[in-house]
Symmetry: C2
Subunit: 270 residues, 2 copies
């Protein structure tokens, strides 16, 4: 522990310095406002990297884990407190067992809005646009796929859940920390912004007009995906080209994150 | 309720007739042996369909839900008891809130073994082979993708988790009930069986020799996938053709279920 720069030992779960870590799960439910919670080494590495738009506010690491973090803390700015606690103190503060032993509180970068985000993208760009995707596993999975296939940004309408919710960050393996996104408004507003920025929107739907591989890709393309049960609203479908992924007879059910992986893969091949 | 054929009203959580539903979650942990638990209408519909290799032993439905099941119970054999209970009795028996209000206990079909399973497949067949995939979300997701893209069967080595575990069935949306599979033995045994049945095995790995779309597909093809962290053991990789899915620089991390979706999609295009 003595090797770590400026580690601050916490022995009392009620220590006010670690108040932001208190009852992490409950805070998730009511929303975290300007903050985010990052868990685990892989995610923390991305939070501390130059690719992350958000900034670390503090870290809370278990004593055991601290010795094995290696170079992970090298990029930690000197003014960011590194709190260290025994596992039992850590679990007591957080409210459940943190088996990864690494947590961070981050401060979110402001949402610049869809128009500004799209304006900053290159001439050839791939964007994922989500309408009504409110499941954190799915949103996290979609961000992971977007990062893996090099999508430039993700847009989410206001009916989507927060990609910086703790679970969404974890499922995305940190992709939602590094992939630019904007969230809010109605699905129509999102399509307006895409249209104004010269994006062609391709809506993925089992009832799509063409098969995915038949598409000719526009330089600026947005893949539009809806929630699994209801799918995309007809009003949004009507404003987009529509594409489908053909499936086996009798089981035409693909998870929306799996759909995003297939569609992103297909786009990178066009 | 009076419309339902032979519904048996349960008012006492300790009623011995519904003992198999007691503490469902705990039973999951220790394994269910010859039984399985199916949740929700979509899954139950598959369990009662002619496509399911397993048989329903009994159903437990909440009073509220029973009226809305429509034709779902039409294929229910007359000797399968349909238990009906109030939501609070149901939750008390099961040990957590069953918000879908529909549960079934099924009896598993015996595992015929990989060799017999493969022998029964058509000359042109696509199989998914899993080594060490022990996460129920991933196994469930892979079965869902296998069914959606029409894979004929799934093989799992003994280090994989059980596809008929409650959560795996749920995540697969019932696909693990209708997709033939065999599970057990070492990864090498699985490759032996595939080889003997004339399958060419394609191992998916970030270090694969060719890109996925460059593959020429053999009539009988098996897609081999390993666990996310460690990946496939080198000994298995050495016995297969290897293919990769190219990803963006700096984030080469694709979930194994997402990988299966992309690989199955690519195979159905070959």
């Amino acid at each position: 522990m003595s090797d770590a720069p400026s580690a601050i030992l916490i022995t009392d779960p009620d220590d006010p310095r670690i108040a932001p870590y208190r009852a992490v799960r409950e805070r998730d439910v009511v929303g975290r406002g300007e903050r985010l919670v990052a868990e685990g080494e892989v995610v923390l590495r991305l939070l501390l990297s130059g690719r992350c738009r958000h900034t670390a506010e503090s870290l809370l690491v278990s004593e055991k884990r601290l010795e094995r973090l290696g170079d992970l803390l090298d990029p930690l700015p000197p003014d960011v407190p590194l709190y260290v606690a025994g596992q039992s103190v850590m679990d007591a503060v957080v409210g459940f067992h943190i088996h990864r032993g690494v947590l961070a509180i981050g401060r979110r970068a402001p949402d610049e809005g869809a128009a500004a985000l799209l304006a900053g993208l290159p001439e050839r760009a791939l964007v994922v646009a989500l309408s009504g995707v409110s499941n954190h596993d799915n949103v996290g999975g979609i961000f992971r796929n977007a990062a893996a296939f090099g999508a430039e940004a993700v847009l989410l309408d206001g009916a989507c859940c927060d990609p910086l919710y703790r679970k969404a960050i974890r499922v995305s393996v940190g992709a939602s920390l590094i992939t630019p996104f904007s969230r809010g408004g109605a699905g129509e507003d999102m399509l307006d912004a895409l249209e104004a920025a010269g994006f062609e929107t391709v809506a993925l739907s089992p009832s799509g007009d063409v098969q995915l591989h038949e598409l000719a890709r526009a330089p600026r393309t947005a893949l539009l995906l809806g929630a699994e049960g209801p799918g995309l609203p007809p009003a949004l479908m009507a404003r987009a080209r529509t594409a489908r992924i053909d499936m086996a007879a009798g089981f035409d059910s693909l998870n929306v994150a799996a759909t995003s992986a297939v569609a992103l893969y297909a786009m990178t091949r066009l």
